[in-house]
Symmetry: C2
Subunit: 210 residues, 2 copies
DNA sequence: GCTATTAGTGAATATTGATTCATTCTTTTG
DNA sequence: CAAAAGAATGAATCAATATTCACTAATAGC
């Protein structure tokens, strides 16, 4: 008997794994899953390509884990926004704004999480993400219906419309960010854009002119 | 001198080209551009892979042409719906319904045209498509603002919200059709779905409860 | 210091799918 | 029919990446 994994090594391995995950996140945030090459990730993390495979079963698994981590963060933010006090409409507005502002800050990542075509294992993660998200908005809409500030409607379908309107406006192929990323940096425009979207969404939900 | 292209040959070549185009369309409608392999297209069209390259410069060129043909059809439909008589709101409703129903009939193609990541040459076609589309809806919204049936707003941004809400609800990753395609065949549900979406969109646009 | 065990390496391999091109088949015309 | 030109073919090639694995380096316990 000569070697047994020690605490020091466990930490070092965990650190390496973490570093690989972070660099993968960076790559995806830059150009989506499609453009995140194993070689590039290895370069960034300063390890050999083979090392990545000592920490993750496959590229797909690595991506799935990154996806899960990223979405958990997003879900947490929206959950928090919806957990504040105020009417359902007010809380929804906060949540939508949170969602929109985060998407604007990282449009590529937002697109990757929402719409980029991905491998089956990652798609599975997206399913969970989707359910969590749809569930959150749906729940808030239901509360609004009970409170009376939102008219009766199919909460599930409406929540999909919300997500679609925001996603398309901010990160979709028809969005301004795709063609003139430079211009999208102008925060003033962005505020205006977010307001327009929120206005559209809340009117769509409530049918009340704002 | 011995051979000169004759009318008969020109027609035959045109027919082959057309057949390749149609089979490509079929492939894309089935699984998007990503899954449309040259070999599969060649099989369907009953030609050798090399033959495709006698008719099209490259896969990218072939796809770009298919994209153009497909979008021209879509644009024509929406243009027609918007050219009918009635108030701007009524005409927009017709156009949105047209758009939604066509997307439901061919969700994969709709997704490919709207959101699937594509090569640069195809993306260029999408730019034109997008301009045409955005232009049409925008124009109708502007007319509505002038008529007074739609409150003043950024017509461009609102038209993007419209497209997003529909696209996400019908063909997006969060849509119901992605997971239970079987259930999506139930036309009754679809009618209900389209109505919900249209309601959301028109309320978003007008702020008037329907 | 020695040895067993695990971690790390990165060039070589495997895979997937577009594209090419030497060859064969067709058509045209004298 | 023969010669010239073009069209069609599809196996071979190329390209781009993910993955493997034989080898080297580092660590743990004696």
């Amino acid at each position: 008997m000569a070697y047994r994994e020690t605490e020091k090594m466990r930490l070092r391995k965990a650190a390496a794994r973490q570093r690989i995950a972070e660099c993968t996140y960076k790559c995806v945030a830059e150009g989506g899953f499609r453009n995140a090459r194993i070689t590039r990730i290895a370069q960034l993390a300063d390890v050999a390509t083979g090392t990545i495979y000592r920490h993750f079963e496959s590229k797909e698994d690595l991506f799935a884990e990154i996806f899960r981590q990223a979405t958990q963060r997003e879900i947490a933010k929206v959950t928090k926004a919806l957990a504040t006090s105020g009417s359902a409409t007010e809380r929804l507005e906060k949540a939508l704004r949170q969602f929109a502002e985060r998407a604007l800050k990282g449009p590529v990542m937002a697109w990757s999480l929402i719409a980029e075509p991905v491998d089956p294992k990652v798609e599975e993660e997206r399913l969970a993400y989707r359910k969590a998200y749809a569930g959150l908005f749906e729940q808030a809409i239901r509360e609004g219906i009970e409170e009376g500030c939102i008219p009766d409607q199919n909460a599930r379908q409406s929540s999909t419309c919300l997500v679609g309107a925001i996603a398309e406006s901010l990160v979709g192929p028809l969005s301004p960010t795709q063609t003139n990323l430079a211009a999208a940096k102008e925060t003033e425009n962005n505020d205006q854009l977010v307001n327009t979207i929120i206005c559209f969404c809340l009117q769509g939900l409530t049918g009340i002119r704002r």
